[in-house]
Each structure stands twice: as C-alpha cells, then as structure tokens.
Chain length 197, copies 2
DNA sequence: TCTGGAAGTTACAGACCGGTAACACCCTAG
DNA sequence: CTAGGGTGTTACCGGTCTGTAACTTCCAGA
C-alpha cells in the first residue's frame, strides 16, 4: 500500500526516488538493484530499460538530490526576495534543521566515501555539483555585503559538512549541537569587519 | 618483495596493517577478505584464526587507527611539554598536513558512512573513539587557557572533519585550502576574549 | 629427534551481486 | 480490431562475497 513513493508515478520516477531514499539510508554498496526495484514496485528489466547501469542510476540520483537542494535555494530567495543576508540566515536555520532530522550525512560525501576508484564516473559529477553549491554560497555571502565572502562561505561550508559527518558518527548530541551558534557567530564576526588571519 | 608491510611481522599484524591500509584506500565494502590476505602474504584461514569475522577485523582496524592518532597527541606533548597552546597549534599544523597528503577522509567517518545498520558492532566503537578524541581536544583547549574551550574544540573539530570530506569530494583545491587560516583565526579570536554568539 | 601448534593449501558451501535473454502481457493510439 | 511500445515475469550467466572443512607443511622448543 504505502511505499513512500506515489504509486501512480511512472516506473522510472519511482525507481529514481526509491533508489535515492535507499542509497541515502543504506549506502550505495549496501543496496542491490533487486532491492530497489522490488521496493519501487517494479522489476529489474524495467530499471535497465531506463538506466544504462547501476552507476548511471547512482549519478541520476545524485543529480536529483542536487536539484532538490537547488530548490531550497530558490525558496530562500522567494521568502526573502533581494535580502541576501536574510537568505544566509535562512540557510543556517535550514542546515541546522537537517542536522536534527537526518542522521545520515550528505549523499555526495557518502558516495565519495564509498566510490573510491579515482575515475569512477560519479566522482566527476560529485565534484561538479559540490563546486556549484560552493559558488552559490559564496554568491550569497557576497550579496550580503560581506568582505571576505569566499572565506566565510568556505568556513560555513566546512562547518556544515563537518557537522553532518559528526552526526553520523557520534549522533546529534555531539559537537554539531553548537552549529548554529558557531555559524551565527562567524557571520556576525565577518560582518563586523576584518577577520583574523 | 616490497609489500609495504614488513615481511617478518607476524601474520596477525600483517593482516591488521594491510586491512587498515586497504580499508582506508578502497573502503570497507570495497575490499574482500581474500584480497586482504593475499596482499598481506597470507591466507584466509589464518585471518579467521585471528579474527572472529570481517566485522571483528574492521573493529580492530578502527582501534588501531585511533591508537595511532593517540600517539600523535603524545608527540605533541613530547615536542611542547606543558605548553598546551603550542600543542594546539601543532594539532592545526598536523591536521593541515593530513589534508594535503591524504585524499581520503577519516577512517571512522568513512566507516560510519558505509556501515549503516544502526546496531552494527563497529558503530558503537566509532562513537566511543570519536568521543575520546573530542575530550582530548577539549582538554587541550582548556589547558591552553581558553575560556570557551568546548566551543572552540567543537568548532575546530567540525572544521577539520568538514575539510577532510571536502578533500574527498572536490579535492585539495577546494574550501579546505583555507583550513589553517580559519583555525588560527578562531584560536586567536577565542584567546582574545569573549566569542560571538 | 620428536612433538605440538601455528600457518599454508585446496576445495567448497551458500548467498548475493550486476546484468541479460526470451517471452507474455496490457493498454493506448491509430 | 490491430499494431506496437512500455511493462512484467522467469530464468539464467558469470562473478564475488563471507565463512568453513580437511588436510599438509613448517618450525620452534623440549
């Protein structure tokens, strides 16, 4: 009955959404294509008619995840049109919310941890998507009138990334509890004037 | 001839060291016990005489890694006896060095990304070891006379953790290049007085 | 020299993996 | 009604995985 995936969606979409969910929860190598298709209410042949290989499916899942993240950015803009600083604070709040609601880390970081072959097709995609996300955060910081926009963006990015893996290793009661405090302190400090270093 | 592992070491140690190296490079699920024993110049039966299971081997590898990290801390103390602030700076330098020399992330974080079953025996060990590392960094900050020692320690810890996964996803040219600047700036700021937030 | 334990060897069990072939079905468009 | 594309079903291939059994070899110590 309730698979978590809308039953009337087309097989390809059901497979993509189910795979995304299962990869996220159990890791990429921890999920077989049989398990995905069964959970998606379809079969292996249908999967291979829509995706060249499991690697191809992985890449499409990562793109879909990035696309959803992109939608978040648009939501920030919609909620605070033109106010980049408010959007930056919204980003911090959203990041903190993810830390508390999702015990698993970033899909791309997890995928990079699992897919170790240097020339794995997914690695290229991961790098592209991560770089795009970075540029977006830099643009947000710059738009908010922060002088050392790149440095703040990179610091916030590293803090968030670190908090996600921390949640994955020691849980939500660890260092990640201080994330908002750290991030807001940094933003305030960078707005105030020259940073240290 | 040269296996990277001292040939005259006992089989158990060769297996442990080889497994550590291979898990680190190729991930846990990406390496089979056959490949480990072959690289260690021994065989599967010998592995299973010394380790109950692959999971047991994984746990012993994580403990060994933590033990090596512990030796690093002792080195800081030996090089700067009593001077906790100097040891903290040494920690930053060492962390930066690891970012540049090792493209793979933290073994425990990577293991946590791969071993997703909530009650996997390794998860418990990972949590213990990470908490111990955190306490050590907090003690270092406190010993260095920093007021909000926990907050600084957690911030530095998250930054480093984030930098490691960043190296794994976008490489050494990404946000992690600023790690030393960020860390030193934070230490300076926390030493200066009250932090933001 | 004898002996006992550690280590090596070979073969195998049972399960799972990604991926493919061949064929039956259904539903919609003409 | 019919044709055809998307879908479902079953079976299979070759490979890999963890883990075990049975046996042999080696070597150190008494």
């Amino acid at each position: 009955m309730t698979d978590g995936v809308v039953e009337r969606a087309r097989p390809r979409d059901r497979i993509l959404e189910t795979a995304r969910d299962m990869f996220h929860k159990h890791g990429i190598k921890g999920v077989g294509v049989d398990a995905i298709t069964e959970a998606a209410g379809t079969n292996k042949m249908t999967l291979y008619r829509h995706f060249e290989s499991k690697d191809d499916l992985i890449i499409e899942c990562l793109r879909a995840t990035a696309s959803k993240a992109g939608a978040m950015w648009e939501m920030f803009e919609a909620e605070h049109p033109g106010d980049k600083l408010a959007q930056l604070h919204a980003w911090v709040r959203k990041a903190a919310e993810m830390l508390n609601t999702d015990g698993r880390g970033c899909d791309m970081a997890n995928a990079a941890a699992e897919l170790t072959e240097p020339d794995h097709p997914a690695r290229r995609v991961i790098k592209e998507l991560k770089e795009a996300q970075r540029e977006r955060l830099v643009a947000l910081c710059r738009g908010a009138g922060i002088g050392q926009a790149e440095l703040l963006a990179d610091t916030l990015s590293l803090l968030f990334e670190g908090a996600r893996v921390s949640v994955q290793t020691v849980g939500t009661e660890g260092p990640s509890t201080q994330f908002v405090r750290m991030a807001e302190g940094l933003i305030l400090s960078f707005r105030g004037g020259a940073s240290a270093g």
